[in-house]
Subunit: 359 residues, 2 copies
């Protein structure tokens, strides 16, 4: 047994449910094992008797849920002899790919859309030493190029069409059940490329099949209004939203996500940037949890559906927060009225006055 | 027993070693339980037979080790009936104070130095809804003002002179011993206000006294060359370093830090911004771990002392990485030559060429 009781990565933790063998060299940054935090103030503020938990995936090593898939994808790429990986990314996937490639000692190429990457994500990808290829096109164009180029160059695709990504990501569902002792009634997720809703459903289904839990949650997939192909019923061409992590018009896991929705009795819905940012600010201000804008789409949807009664009182709800708020400080700062605090004299009187004015 | 096996916060986990009672309302964001990651590539690169582990405190809820102390300090402030907390901060303490105050439903005031706060930290403090008081003075001036004002206004100080902060922070030493099964031979830390080296030493000492571990590490405290009062032997007036989290000239835990150094047979040393940034980049590029610039001071010092033989081969070394790299994306980006990637055509040929040029 490992001496690292608490901080083994997710492959070691769930090795019997993942496609690795005893001889596989595991590429890990001790990802997973993220906090499941019960909201204490927001249910009271909205006056509803619900248990809302957030799965704070922003506390993975590179700050997003992508690390779960990437530890698997890079482990398998290395096992298969690959010397380079490639992905198209709005930022989080590229950061994860770059970090795990650095850990493995192989090369990472990331295709990013021109000028639409949050600052923190670009900083990470650069620091981890990836080769950044910026294209004059959006995420969907990058994705189709990655698929083409993998046929013409010795690189392994690590986007979520890589099946190992989904296998790694499903472990988040395992952790939730292991923590709660049961599956939640509802699981709410932001939906961009739709790999995560696919992965959670796979995880819950495997646990239910093995009788680790006796039920599976209703899956609620929430999109940004300007990037909502599941609501349109078809891919869309020019997705637009401030929630850059889900600014995707042509989701790669289209059929799997529909299957999760149907099999679970769930639904898709869409919310405006204003609704998403309001949920984002609520989480910070009333719970002390700072996530990426896109992450808050899960809470925006949950609050809407709790308010309408679609999610009934008495429910146990998990909202996945896909990324860390520090990924996108600019969007956060632009939301805050007091973003440019005035400077006062460094004197007792001035400071005392400033404090007493607020109390 | 709690159903939350893995994600209870550090007060619940170490409740018998912390000053709380059964009736204390715990203010927690499920902090602590951070990964201890063994470096795999850097020891090989430097050609030394050493086990180096990093304790990645950047994966706490607000992205730094400050959460450990803040869960204790805010829990006790609320227990004592306080409606507001205050701190002076270079950024990480203010983010933690703001988050835990939000979670508790009380007010947070943060005094920040004018114009020297990393972007991510300001974004957090604003989002968590703290009242920011920016003063025309540095951290040390802010600290002395906070101490004065707490005598004249109903606010609880949550800087590390608050003794509960140290109690919370000592749990990082517990976690390391619990993970490894023993105490390391050397523990390397960045030293700014010196609360953390004080806290680790207290934690190791408590565990050794209780025979949870049979030894205590040598404590190595590393400072930035421009902010090195422990090397000067006295407080300094105008600390300057790119490692803003340790840009402190008058450490509050002066005597405790000296005691830790002496009792452990350890030492202080200082490193230039260039040395700190080099270690910062190494960690990202060769291990996939992106920390704050200040955090890398621990590794910069460890590598120096391993190189010189002061830390002998065969040693087991823990370096604390105090904060998340996403706290300071601007410093990271300014370090990277390829910070402004060129944009290429979204065509198969152009992308293929870009890739093959690198392989």
């Amino acid at each position: 047994m490992s001496k690292h009781k608490h901080h083994i990565g997710l492959i070691e933790r769930y090795r019997d449910r993942l496609p690795v063998s005893a001889s596989t060299r595991i590429i890990s940054l001790n990802e997973g094992n993220t906090p499941l935090i019960q909201l204490q103030n927001i249910p009271r503020l909205i006056g509803k008797d619900v248990d809302i938990y957030v799965k704070f995936e922003g506390l993975n090593p590179t700050g997003s849920f992508k690390d779960r898939g990437m530890t698997m994808a890079v482990t398998k790429a290395v096992e298969e002899g690959s010397q380079a990986i490639i992905c198209a990314s709005t930022g989080n996937t590229s950061a994860a790919a770059a970090a795990y490639a650095a850990r493995a000692g192989i090369k990472a190429f990331v295709l990013i859309p021109d000028g639409k990457i949050a600052l923190g994500k670009l900083a990470q990808t650069l620091m981890y030493g990836a080769e950044i290829i910026q294209i004059n096109g959006n995420f969907d164009k990058g994705m189709s190029l990655v698929k083409e180029v993998a046929d013409h160059a010795p690189v392994t695709i690590v986007n979520s069409i890589n099946p190992y990504r989904i296998d790694g990501q499903k472990t988040a569902a395992f952790e939730i059940v292991d923590d709660l002792g049961f599956a939640p009634d509802y699981h709410c997720l932001p939906v961009g490329n739709a790999g995560n809703i696919t992965a959670y459903w796979k995880g819950y289904t495997e646990y239910a099949t093995s009788r680790v839990c006796s039920s599976r949650p209703v899956m609620c997939g929430y999109q940004a209004a300007g990037a909502a192909p599941f609501l349109a019923g078809h891919p869309i061409d020019d997705p637009e939203t401030i929630a850059t992590a889900i600014r995707i018009g042509n989701p790669q896991s289209w059929d799997f996500a529909w299957a999760a929705q149907k099999e679970s009795g769930g639904w898709f819905d869409k919310f405006t940037d204003e609704q998403i940012l309001a949920a984002h600010k609520m989480l910070s201000q009333f719970e002390g949890i700072f996530c990426e804008p896109a992450s808050a789409t899960s809470l925006a949807g949950a609050l809407h559906d709790i308010g309408s009664g679609k999610i009934p009182e008495g429910s146990k709800i998990v909202c996945t927060l896909t990324g860390n708020g520090l990924k996108d400080p600019d969007t956060a700062i632009s939301q805050c009225a007091a973003a440019h605090p005035v400077t006062i004299d460094a004197s007792l009187d001035a400071v005392k006055r400033a404090i007493l004015d607020c109390l």
